[in-house]
């Protein structure tokens, strides 16, 4: 699904990612944990194609194709989805129009016909139920005036609409109360198939009680320094990030 080899990336001349290696196979759930500033969100942004980051070395293939040479919208159409840590408010663009445009772009790319209006609205209704999103939110401008929890639910709602192959959830749990966290995690789990993969980026182990990972990676100072099963997250929770820092410095 996704293969990252020796990925280096920097912003304004400062290197953030210092040689990342990662293999994600179809159906797998990977968790990437790490202290603040370790490069977790940068990795997500680089994979999605945010152009403020410069890739200085390494390669990334997504479903066998070179990911890094593609535009962000091409990556999305190929099935890469990023749930943003800070979803952007877009005043004046309604959720419905935004989703209609996005879904039809993705369908066009897959060689499928555009959805008829009535079919689109039906899909919209079904997916809204999945993430228990307030019906009225889709009539409003994208994320405008949404609460923190609504914004995160809205990300998962969009994920449900677009049916990606690989979803990267960047700190989806931050700012969520326990009920919203459960709803968001349930949404992700319901969307899980044996073919699609998920990368969960998180600071805390909490989310991983709900979205159970196959592999846990610890990112520290721009590198993956430890990988293991889901128990690694529990160790981390018990010992804190200082444990990793000490181990690295030793």
């Amino acid at each position: 699904m996704l293969s990252i080899k020796n990925l280096h990336a920097s912003i304004e001349g400062q290197e953030i990612l210092k040689g990342i290696n990662l293999e994600v196979k179809p159906g797998e759930v990977h968790a990437i944990m790490g202290p603040n500033g370790s490069g977790k969100s940068t990795l997500a942004s680089v994979l999605a194609g945010r152009d403020i980051f410069e890739v200085t070395d390494g390669e990334v293939t997504f479903q066998g194709e070179n990911l890094l040479e593609k535009e962000p919208d091409e990556r999305a159409k190929d099935g890469l989805f990023l749930s943003f840590q800070y979803p952007v408010e877009i005043p004046g663009v309604s959720m419905v129009n935004f989703m209609r445009a996005a879904v039809n772009e993705v369908r066009k790319h897959r060689g499928e016909p555009e959805l008829k209006s009535s079919d689109f609205l039906k899909v919209l209704r079904d997916k809204k139920a999945l993430v228990e999103i307030d019906s009225r939110l889709t009539n409003r401008s994208v994320n405008e005036g949404f609460s923190g929890g609504e914004k995160k639910k809205n990300e998962i709602f969009q994920m449900a609409m677009l049916e990606p192959k690989l979803s990267i959830l960047d700190e989806t749990d931050s700012g969520l109360d326990i009920d919203a966290l459960r709803i968001v995690a349930n949404g992700v789990n319901k969307l899980k198939t044996p073919e699609n993969s998920t990368i969960v980026i998180t600071h805390y182990q909490r989310l991983l009680d709900y979205i159970v990972p196959d592999v846990v990676h610890i990112l520290y100072n721009g590198k993956i320094v430890k990988s293991g099963g889901k128990e690694l997250a529990l160790d981390l929770e018990k010992h804190g990030y200082d444990w990793i820092k000490k181990e690295m410095e030793a």
Binding site: A48, G49, R50, D51, E71, P72, D73, R75, A76, K77, F81, L82, F84, P87, V88, E89, I90, P91, G92, V93, N97, F98, M99, A101, A102, E105, V106, H109, S141, V142, Q158, L162
Partner: protein, 450 residues
């Protein structure tokens, strides 16, 4: 006196008699005085604070002729012309050609009883008492010499009188056409009187029908009497080789509302002066504007809202999207007189710059002489939000479409203020096409847009 000013003094002197003979006594009244005022003040340069952002001298320096006031209608099939404006808008259409009333094309049966609509010159002969009561009462030639120039040279225009309590089945659409085979300098004068508790919707469409250069200076005086609601929309879609200065003066009486929106799509240089006086308690003004500019277009909106009495409200909302080397300016003056307690006045001006070469100036001017008022203004000039663009691209929308969606969203806040639904839909379509760089003009226009 500069050469330029003497050139125009001479133009007035040479044509005054001809202008008078094609106009009416009421319109001719004060022409000589206007000529003298213009002669004294001359054409405003950019040293004049009111024209700081719009340099008219290169335009006035070009060679111009006045239109032939006797010219017969130079096209045969009139239906080809107005269809291009707002095709699905069911309106009663009034045409002016080169500043003169041409004809009413609509169903007179659908007009309210007592409604008067026609050429200002002719109507001021038929209804002298109505015209005389309001004409030249608001547009001050003392403050702007171009108003004096208009008064000296305008032969005709429209007179529209909406009787007490009248309501319309259809909006009135005023189509101002410019055409000729040489560069024309045109002047027209409109007068609109909405009597007590009436409700009228007026749509103004400014068009050029030949590729020649045009320079139009039009002055519109509007009276909105007690309890009346007047909606006044202007779509500016002349070709980029032509220029226009429009000045609208509206007096709004007790509990009356004046609602206006100006959409500037094409036109080389556009200067819009909007002067609204709230003169009766409970009066309300809503003024908005949207300009979409590219190439070397220039659009300058200047508003002046005067709160003269207590308990009035005004909202201003002006936006521009600028591409290539185009420029826009906004000057918004709000004057709250000492008596005008409990005034609520709001003003907003936002510009979206698509290139580094485009530029926009914003100048709010608040003068408040009453102490119990709520006045606020805001101005922003910015570029496209990169984070929003990336967010949209991450959902599969390509960069071009994402930009269009953002521009469209930016423009939509003004479009939604248009309350005539078919017109709003048509404007939406025009704006969409305009933003996509497609021809936003009619299919029937024979001339190519520059």
């Amino acid at each position: 006196m500069t050469d330029l000013n003497s050139k125009y003094n001479q133009l007035i002197a040479e044509n005054l008699e001809k202008v008078e003979s094609h106009s009416s006594d009421i319109m001719n009244n004060g022409r000589h005085e206007a000529k003298d005022i213009f002669s004294k003040k001359g054409i405003p340069s950019i040293k004049n604070e009111d024209y700081k952002y719009t340099n008219l001298l290169p335009l006035y320096n070009q060679e111009w002729s006045l239109p032939d006031f006797n010219a017969p209608m130079p096209f045969t099939n009139i239906d080809d012309i107005f269809r291009c404006d707002v095709p699905n808008l069911d309106t009663n259409i009034v045409l002016t050609v080169n500043g003169q009333y041409y004809e009413f094309q609509g169903d007179k049966e659908t007009l309210p009883e007592g409604m008067i609509i026609g050429g200002l010159a002719e109507m001021s002969k038929k209804h002298p008492e109505l015209v005389e009561k309001h004409l030249f009462k608001q547009a001050s030639q003392e403050t702007d010499s171009l108003i004096a120039l208009n008064k000296a040279l305008a032969v005709d225009g429209l007179f529209m009188y909406v009787p007490k309590g009248a309501a319309f089945e259809k909006p009135i659409q005023i189509v101002n056409l410019l055409l000729g085979d040489k560069p024309l300098l045109t002047h027209k004068r409109h007068l609109i009187v909405a009597e007590e508790r009436s409700h009228a919707q007026i749509v103004i469409c400014d068009h050029t029908l030949s590729a020649e250069r045009f320079f139009d200076n039009s002055v519109t005086e509007i009276v909105v009497n007690e309890g009346a609601l007047l909606e006044y929309y202007n779509i500016q879609n002349q070709h980029n080789g032509s220029s226009q200065i429009t000045s609208v003066f509206a007096n709004v009486h007790k509990d009356a509302t004046f609602h206006t929106s100006t959409i500037s799509l094409h036109g080389g240089l556009i200067r819009n002066n909007l002067r609204i006086a709230l003169i009766g308690e409970g009066a309300h003004a809503d003024a908005s504007g949207l300009s979409l500019t590219d190439r070397e277009q220039h659009v300058d909106n200047q508003t002046f809202i005067e709160h003269r009495v207590p308990n009035c409200t005004s909202n201003q909302f002006f936006k521009s999207v600028l591409d290539e080397k185009s420029t826009t300016a906004f000057t918004g003056r709000i004057l709250v007189q000492p008596d005008a307690q409990h005034t609520n006045a709001y003003q907003s001006n936002k510009s979206l710059l698509l290139t580094d070469e485009a530029s926009s100036n914003s100048r709010p001017q608040l003068e408040i002489y009453a102490d119990d008022v709520k006045c606020s203004h805001g101005a922003t000039t910015g570029q496209m939000d990169d984070e929003a663009l990336f967010y949209m691209q991450q959902r599969g929308i390509n960069s071009r479409e994402a930009k269009l969606l953002l521009m469209y969203a930016f423009a939509f806040e003004v479009i939604e203020k248009v309350k005539v639904e078919p017109l709003a839909i048509r404007i939406e379509d025009l704006v969409n096409k305009r933003l996509r760089g497609e021809l936003s003009r009619c299919n029937n226009c024979e001339i190519q847009c520059h």
